[in-house]
């Protein structure tokens, strides 16, 4: 810290030096000194009053009108002083907020992390990256004792903190689902009622919910307006859209969801994604869904985790490492 007396002496020395020699170096030192004063929280009008005091000392017989002009200048600077203090205050508050957001982001991360289950018949890969500190994307895997695996992927509309808070609400609603497995259509109908009641009217959630029967290798699924994924049939060696129609959660309380079913053969693949994957914007424009399929196809011989990691890296590169939206990509591959 700098005390009043030290500042006075140093300022006086620099000022005297400059008035004598008018050299550039002293001017530059004055500039450096001003930075130091800012760091020490010295306000503009404090600097000015020091200047005036020194001038009085140097020129005791100063013209009275010149001297009173200093008083006028001092008054005129008071507004700047207030603005400066306000700025300091805001900087402090901003730092405080940033710390709080960091903590909240960490809490959210630990809340939303869903362990990827180890299953003999399925190879599962997941990647989920937020565009900002907090994510509006959500996924979860739950496996029960009867070898049913439930898979959810969701996107809260809006980004940042409001979206993340809403996501946490969904997470709790899902956790309080009854222990026994529930039909995907029923899960979505329940969540729809929760979201419709609780959320700001312009906020909504899209979700894909699937239930995989490991014994029969059947996937039962339903979608609430979620970006469609893909199904890869190894027999046809073809990717098709994993179509499922349904309204977004929170739109209409009485919405019913249709349930779909698919038999998964060895080598088949299910690709689930959030719109951050398909809304990827590059210099040339938006990437097409077909391009995402091509990226996956090129890497199909690798493990599911390697595929999602590598597709993410490629899309991140195409967007010049600036994610516009939260990005989640899940691949489930039935082992051969």
């Amino acid at each position: 810290m700098i005390d009043q007396e030290q500042m006075y002496e140093r300022y006086k020395r620099l000022l005297a030096e400059y008035m004598e020699g008018k050299n550039e170096e002293t001017l530059y030192n004055g500039q450096l000194f001003s930075r130091h004063m800012i760091e020490c929280g010295v306000s503009p009008e404090d600097v000015l009053s020091v200047h005036i005091e020194i001038m009085r000392e140097f020129f005791p017989n100063m013209d009275e009108r010149l001297e009173s002009s200093f008083d006028f200048l001092l008054e005129a600077m008071i507004g700047y002083g207030l603005a400066y203090r306000e700025h300091q205050n805001l900087r402090f508050k901003q730092r405080q907020l940033e710390t709080e957001i960091d903590i909240a982001a960490n809490v959210q991360q630990s809340l939303l992390v869903s362990a990827v289950p180890e299953i003999d018949s399925l190879d599962i890969g997941v990647i989920s990256k937020p565009a900002k500190k907090m994510s509006g994307d959500y996924y979860h895997f739950v496996r029960d004792e009867q070898n049913f695996l439930s898979i959810a992927i969701a996107d809260v509309i809006g980004k940042g903190i409001p979206a993340a808070m809403c996501m946490s609400m969904i997470k709790y609603a899902m956790d309080s689902e009854p222990e026994q497995r529930t039909k995907p259509s029923a899960v979505l109908e329940n969540l729809n009622r929760v979201v419709e009641q609780n959320v700001d009217p312009s906020m909504f959630i899209t979700m894909f919910y699937g239930l995989y029967n490991e014994k029969e290798h059947r996937l039962y699924y339903a979608s609430a307006g979620h970006e469609p994924g893909f199904f890869y049939s190894s027999q046809k060696d073809r990717f098709e859209e994993l179509t499922a129609k349904g309204r977004v959660l929170g739109l209409d309380r009485s919405t019913k969801y249709r349930e779909y079913e698919k038999l998964i053969m060895p080598g088949d693949m299910i690709v689930l994604l959030s719109d951050g994957v398909t809304e990827c914007r590059t210099k040339k424009g938006f990437i097409e869904r077909g391009e995402v399929v091509d990226l996956i196809r090129k890497r199909m011989d690798r493990s599911a985790q390697e595929i999602v990691d590598s597709v993410y890296k490629e899309l991140e590169r195409l967007q010049e490492f600036q994610l516009r939206d939260d990005f989640t990509l899940i691949i489930l591959k039935r082992r051969v």
Partner: protein, 111 residues
Amino acid sequence: MNLNILQGKAKDGGELLILKGELDAYTAPKLKETLLELVDIEGASVTLDLSDTNYMDSTGIGVIIAAYKKVCKNNGTLIVQGLTPRVERLFDITGLSDIITIEDINKEETR
């Protein structure tokens, strides 16, 4: 990333908003302000013209959903017209096309 909102009268006498540009997280608040005020009247009739909306993301859909809910409460009507294929797909996926009236732009001449 910019959105121009032009306000006029639709052929049916209701309010018309023509959206030119991109409707995304940055521009959606602007539309939200204008649109929600228009639909906040008993029996409000509002038409959104999206033929010059070259990009819309889910935040835009959110504003339209909020307006739709308000219109339902106020016994009004909300019509959307001139959807580009990309926006139409978004309406289909989210299920909005089942509940919001979508009109072909050619049928709806504006004054």
